[in-house]
Structures are given as structure tokens and as C-alpha cells.
Amino acid sequence: MVEYFWPEAKDRHLLGQRISRLDGPAKATGRAKYTYDLLPKGMLWGKILRCPHAHAKIKSVDVSAAEKMPGVKAVRVIQGPGTEIQWALDEVVGVAATSEALAEEALRAVKVEYEVLPHFVNEADLTKAPKVDAGAEEVVGDPDGAMATAEVKIKGTYGMPPVAHNCMEAHGQICEWTGPDTLNAWCSTQAVAGLAGQFAEGLGIPAANVHVMTEYMGGGYGSKFSVDRWGIECAKLAKLAGAPVKLMLDRRAEITVAGDRPSAYGEIEVGAKKDGTLVAWSSKSWASGGPGGAGNPPIPYIFQVPNRRHKHTSVPTNRASARAWRAPNHPQGAFLTFSALDDLAAALGMNPLDFVIQNLSISGQFEKVYREELQIADDLMGWRQRWHPRGDPAKGAIKRGLGLSLHTWGGRGHRSNCEVTVHPDGIAEAKIATQDLGTGTRTVIAIVLADSLGLPLDSVKVSIGDSRYPASGGSGGSTTVGGVSSATRRAAQNLLVTLFGKAAPELGVKPEELEAAEGKIRVKAEPAKSLTWRQALSLFGQTPVTATGANPGTGDLTTSGVGGVQMADVSVDIETGVVRINKMVAVQDCGLIIDLKTAESQVYGGMIMGISAALSEEKVLDPVTGQVLTTDFESYKMAGIADVGELVVHMMTGPGYDERGVIGVGEPPVISPGPAISNAVANATGVRVPFLPLNPRRVLDALGAAGTAGTAAKKETA
């Protein structure tokens, strides 16, 4: 029985170092080939006609003219007469043609008649919703009694709109039939292994006959787990046309139907003792992520107020269905909770940092982590020196302020398998049906394999992005790094058992007396007594040596749960309503770090994505047509390099962190920017801007509504 473990700090030669991503050179020189870049021989271009109405019944579809057009090789009615369409830009007809322009011309020749039905797309005002799905009220303790006796309490309404994933590489795939029931599919996906089964189910062919490939993919953020209707249609068009078909979404469809983080709105009342100790919480939240409504965000977030009441209402809307968006539900829970808590701290006249520390005892298992992180964040931001009570007293239109937020996430490694093959030339290859979304998956597998076998990085090869390799989970919920690293570690340790078994007699010792280090198999107690890597391999002749490893398995190589803290420093122009980020500080824990460089990049990236959502991103829906209006980069505004301020990232490492094993870090850093920045704006201006994004209109609306009175949240002192 092999005992699986991560090496002690002194025994790591690559783990935890700052290592450049291995596929960086291919990407930075444009040589990396993404799905969108591939051009298989004889490839046709697929396009989809989309319904312009948010809710309609299809009366008739006439594709006869399109079918007759030269160069049009396949036309398929995706949703025919009688079908009720539930959101704008849903798929109606697909075509494949010899050029993109021809495919578009063919779509223009299709005639569809609709019976337009009433729609509902704007859930911010719950009273206007035609249909709601009210959840049960959750009650802990005695919220009414505690609220009645709270010394200070506030009430506020807060909210955030739906936002899009807006992946740079649009959703899409290339499908090529290699036989009557055998399919090659190059997909921009977060789930190489899982997609084969989805294609098989949609097409009625054996899953073993589907070969999914994703060497590189241009961003997913939670929106690319499904084969999607357009994936199945792409395969069907390819079959009908007898040629490979590439079908990538255009930007309008990408933003409208291929990515949606549900909205969240909340009416919150929260009360505390005069020293800031939280005693009572009462909240009603509502949200939508399309026809299925939206789930319940974790409220109150992190702080388990002893007496609390919460009720969530899911609101169906005529929007394309929500997709997991980086840390599903947590940005919403954090924004609603920390906005209210910040308003309460202001009502108490407390520094929010003191207020948070005062309540850390109800923050759960990461109390100690948060305490350490808050201290570091305070140092990096200069919070205590620079913080002022709400309303920057500085003269002039520019007001500066600070805000903070905390977050947590799970991130335990998912199910994963790894096969390691050491070839006779000495190269060790890891094969896993996982995918690198840009998180550095390829690189961390290489680091774990090389570190475990005592080899340099250039002696290992990582083969991923292929459904024929050993199965691994989809890359969601920050579960990939823990899954693939644990499976790789176990495979490498198993491989060493085989190697040591052959090498031990050669060296005249027992297998357990050996170690793999510095390119050698050597005796631990007597390192000079060794075989080179190649000598050890030669004991196996010309046959490669293989081993497999899996996660989960024995040994705590990955665990769940992290804590993080972020602080924001902003300036607000109260005449124009423009919010500028001066500086953001992120202090993040993620257990044992495999590659410090790419781990930090995840935190920078999450923080920047969160800044972008906080400042300017919104899927604006037109109540009249039901369409998303912000379907390009001009109107769906994302942060650019000049918009994100100075960024400081500090990773928690070492004792207290490393021994928890590998934990994912893609989700947590995206959670806090919204509340931290919103709280900083409130601190700067003295006014709560209750809804994200903090664009000039919302800021000016809030300033106007508040007049000179100060805070928008009602303070009630008992």
C-alpha cells in the first residue's frame, strides 16, 4: 500500500516555485491553435438563424429558398412550427455552406413566422414579475426578538444585474464524421471528457465513438460545460453535408445566449450591539437567471449571525438560461451581505476593519485565516492610516474612500485519472483528459510530475485536451488543480514503486530505501549510490513503464475551503459620477501552491474580472423587445488595462496553509471586488450606491437621491 503525500518543503524542487506557463511561448507567438483557428480539409461554415423575440411560438419555417442556394450544403430546422421560444436569439435554423458569407446569405433567405407572446425580462422590481417561485423561509434563533433589542440596525435594498461571461473565444466547435457513427469534435470547452457523452446522447451514437479535442481554448469562466444545442446541430449539419462543419457563435449570440450570471437583489435588515457584535439578520432576496429563475445566494455570507431569517424568491424570465459564472452565487451573496454590513458599520460609527474583526468569531472555519489575511491586507493597503469615516472631507469633486470584503470557496480536487508513461528515451508523459482554460493546468501537471520523479521540467511531457486520455472532471468550481495534481502525484508515486522495485536489487538495497531526485534513483541514506534515470529505465528493456493514479484516493492531497480578503481604494468624481480604482489588495489562501506564478495570475485575473463587473458590466435587457441590448464590446463594457488601478496580490503560503494540500483558486478572488469597491464608493461619497455596476448613472442617481442628507441606508437607533 503506497502512502501518498506531498513532499516537505525541503524536498520540493519545483513545487511552489514561480514557473512560467509551458504553453506561453505558443500562445504569445500566435502558434497555439484554438478551435476557432482550425481548418480541417473540406470544412464548411455553420451559421444559426436566431429568434428575434424573447417569447414566441413558431408558426412556420420555410427553408426552401436557402436549400437551393449554390454553396449551401446543409440546412436544418432546429426548432420547428409549434415550438415555444423562451428567450431572444434562441436557435431556429442551422445552415452549413462553403463560405461564411454564403451561410449568412442563406440565413437571410429563410422565412420564419412567429406568434409573438408576452415576455418578462427585468426582474429588478419584483412586484412586476408575472410568476415567481418563492422558497421556504430559513430561520435560525429568534431574529424578531434579537432585532427588536438590537442597539443599532439598518435597512437597505441592494442589487446586481445579470452579467455575461463574454469569452474571447466564442462558444463553438468543429464536427467531422469519420464514419457513420464515429465523430471527431474540436470544441472550445471546459469539459473534454464529459462532452463525449453529451454528443453521444444528443446524436444517438456510442460515447466511445466520439473523440473530443481541446488543445487550447479561449476562456470559459463556467460557461462552457455543455455540448449545447449548437454543438449537436453542428454535428448534424456535418453529417447532412458530408463534410466537417465549423460553427462558432458570433459576439451578439455569445453575450446573449452563451453566458449569464444570475442577478441578485435583496432587502436586508441587520442589527448589532453598540460594540458592533452582530445579533440579528433578516433578508429577502430574489434573482433570475432565465426561465429557471435563479438559486439562493449564501446570505448572510460568511458571518453566521446567531439570529437570522432569510427567504429567497426565484424569478423566471425570458432570458437565456444562466450558466455557472466563476464562484456561482458567491459574488451575489458577498455583495448583498457586505453592502449591508458596511452600512451597519457606518451607522455604528465603526471602522469596517474593526467591525469585521469584532465578528470574526462567527465567520466559521477560516476565522484564523481571515484574521491573518486582514492584518496583511491592512499593511499592504495602509488601511488604518488612511481610513476615514463615510464622506471624504476633502474639498473638490474628487472623493476618495476605502472598502473591504471577505470571501470563501471550496475548491477540493475533482475526480481525475492520470496515466504516466516513461518512454525508453527517458521522457515522462502524463495523460489526462483535462483542459487548460488558461489557468495553468498543463503547467501544474508538469510541475507535479517532474517534482515527483526528480526530473527537470524539460524531461516531462503533458498530454491533455483529448477525451481518449484517462477521464478527468470538467474545469469548474476551482476543482481542476486539486484533481489533476493529486491524480498525477499518485500516478508518479505508483510509477516509482515499479522503478524502485527493479532498481533496488541492482543497488543492493530495499525499494523503500530509494528516492528519485536530481535525475537519479538513489539510496536516501547514501545518495552517491545511484542509478541514472536512463540506467533505471534500461532495466525494463524497450518497453515503456506505465502507472496510473486517481483522485479521490488515499492521502489528503487535496482538501476543501479557502479564505480571502480584498480591499479597494477608489476615487469618485461626484460631478461626473465616474469611479476610478486607485488600488486593490488581494490576500488569498489556497492551501499548497504548485506554481506561485500562475496561482498569482488567477488572483489577479479574478480580481480584475470582479473589478470589471463592479464598475461597468451589465446585460441590459430591453423591456419592449426582450432583447439584450449590450451585445458588443462598445456597450457591454469590460475593464481595460487603464481601468483596474494598482493591483497587489499576496498569497498565503507555508505552515498552516501547505499542509491542507492543493486547493483551487480560480473562483475565490472574483467574489470580493464588487462589495469592496461598492463599500469604498460609499466611504468616499458618504452615499450608498445600492446597485451594481457603479457606472456614472447609478452613482449620480444615488448622489441625487441622497441629496445632502448622507447615507441612503436608513439608520435606526434603538
Partner: protein, 245 residues
């Protein structure tokens, strides 16, 4: 993946003058054609082909079918038969297999398709190939390859100024244009020069460092002649807490 699957409704270049022949013998063809002129043989052949020009009011009119055109890409001339409506981006990606320039917004806002046109950064999605026939075009593929990176992509690798990498070639080319014009940019210059590009993964912190490092590396290169940087070239120099705004 092999690509010679042509759009079947498009004619091929005249016999003996395939696109690949032109790519291979670019220098010769360029010399024959001379600046500003299509290779004579190809032009003559095209005039006799299925998409020959027609006369309108005494003027020879080409299109809307495929017409011969010559692009000068990465220092080499290449002759193509393309519909006049073909964008530079589609010509580069779908005809020349230079897929570093990406199609993301396809309307001149995201910068993922940035290439250099006579040294200036442009959005290739918003330029018709036929309008830039005689202008030098430089794509990201000209900046080395894995194992022999130029200092600029090497700095992007070293400072992890990329995640999914889909926007990266556009940023690299926008940065090249900046550094070619301004070898010692300030952070403000960098922000200005790169604000025509978007990244969704959030790599701006690494990018700031990468551009500053590449500028410094260019200075080094001047001293050491242009010895190519290996992957990851520069050692890490930055302390923790980076990405200053």
C-alpha cells in the same frame, strides 16, 4: 491539421502559380511583380478565368467574385484570389493560416485581431484585404516561435501576461507598435497604447510588467546585438505585490 480544403466555388490561382508556390518563392515573385503590381502571369490568367473583369462605362471592373490580390505579409509577398469583401483578418486566418490574429468582436473594438500595417497597429477585422495590397503587414507569427522567442513575447511569457491566450497576440502586436515608436514608455503610455485591446482573463498586471521588461530588454538587445531570448528570457525581478497602476 492539414489545410488545403479550398472553398470549392472559388477558382484556384492559375496553373503553376499556387498560393503555396507564391509563399515558397515569394522573394522571386516579389521581384518579378515589383512594388505595386500583381504578378503579370496571374493577372493575365485571372482575366481569362471565370471571374474575369467586366467593362462598365469603359472601366474594367473586378468582382464581386474572387479577384487576384497581393498582400505583403511578414516580409513576403503572397498572391491570393479573394472576393473583394474579404477582410484582412479572414485573409490572414483562413487563406494564409496565420491564425495568431483572432476574431473576437469582428467590429473593431476588442483588438484581438491587431496586426501592424506599415508599422502601425490596426484592427485586421475592419480592413478589407484588397485595400492594403501594397502595404507591409506584420503579424505576431513574425516574432519568433517556441524555443526562439523575440524579447517581446518572451516578456509576456516571463511575466505571465496571458492566461487563455486568445487576446494575447493582439496585445503583443499593440505592444510592439508602442515600443517601436516609443522605446521607453511610461505606465501611462502603456495604458494608452493598450487601451484598444481587451483581455477577459484579467492579465493586465502581468502585461504592465511585460511591456516594461520588454522595453528594458530592447535596450539590452541594442548592446548585445539581437541575440534571441530563450523562452522566459529574463529572470524574475519583481517583488511580491506587482502590477502597479
Amino acid at each position: 491539421m492539414a489545410r488545403d480544403g479550398k472553398r470549392e466555388d472559388l477558382p484556384r490561382p492559375p496553373e503553376g502559380l499556387s498560393r503555396r508556390d507564391f509563399l515558397r518563392g515569394g522573394a522571386v515573385a516579389g521581384a518579378l511583380g515589383g512594388a505595386g503590381l500583381l504578378a503579370g502571369e496571374m493577372l493575365e490568367a485571372a482575366k481569362k478565368g471565370p471571374h474575369a473583369p467586366h467593362m462598365e462605362a469603359g472601366v474594367e471592373v473586378w468582382g464581386p467574385g474572387p479577384v487576384p490580390m497581393r498582400l505583403r505579409v511578414n516580409g513576403r509577398p503572397v498572391d491570393l484570389l479573394l472576393e473583394p469583401r474579404t477582410t484582412l483578418l479572414d485573409a490572414l486566418r483562413d487563406e494564409l493560416e496565420l491564425t495568431g490574429a483572432k476574431r473576437v468582436c469582428d467590429r473593431g473594438t476588442c483588438g484581438a485581431c491587431t496586426v501592424l500595417l506599415d508599422g502601425d497597429p490596426v484592427y485586421a477585422c475592419s480592413i478589407l484585404a484588397i485595400t492594403v495590397q501594397y502595404t507591409p503587414i506584420q503579424t505576431v507569427e513574425s516574432l519568433g516561435r517556441p524555443g526562439e522567442l523575440d524579447s517581446l513575447p518572451a516578456a509576456f511569457v516571463e511575466h505571465d501576461a496571458q492566461q487563455c491566450g486568445f487576446c494575447t497576440p493582439g496585445f503583443v502586436m499593440a505592444t510592439k507598435a508602442l515600443l517601436d515608436h516609443n522605446p521607453n514608455p511610461t505606465l501611462k503610455d502603456i495604458h494608452h497604447a493598450l487601451s484598444g485591446n481587451f483581455c477577459r482573463c484579467g492579465t493586465y498586471a502581468g502585461m504592465r510588467q511585460a511591456v516594461l521588461a520588454a522595453a528594458a530588454a530592447d535596450d539590452d538587445d541594442d548592446d548585445e546585438k539581437d541575440e534571441k531570448k530563450k523562452d522566459g528570457g529574463r529572470p524574475p525581478t519583481e517583488p511580491k505585490g506587482v502590477g502597479h497602476g
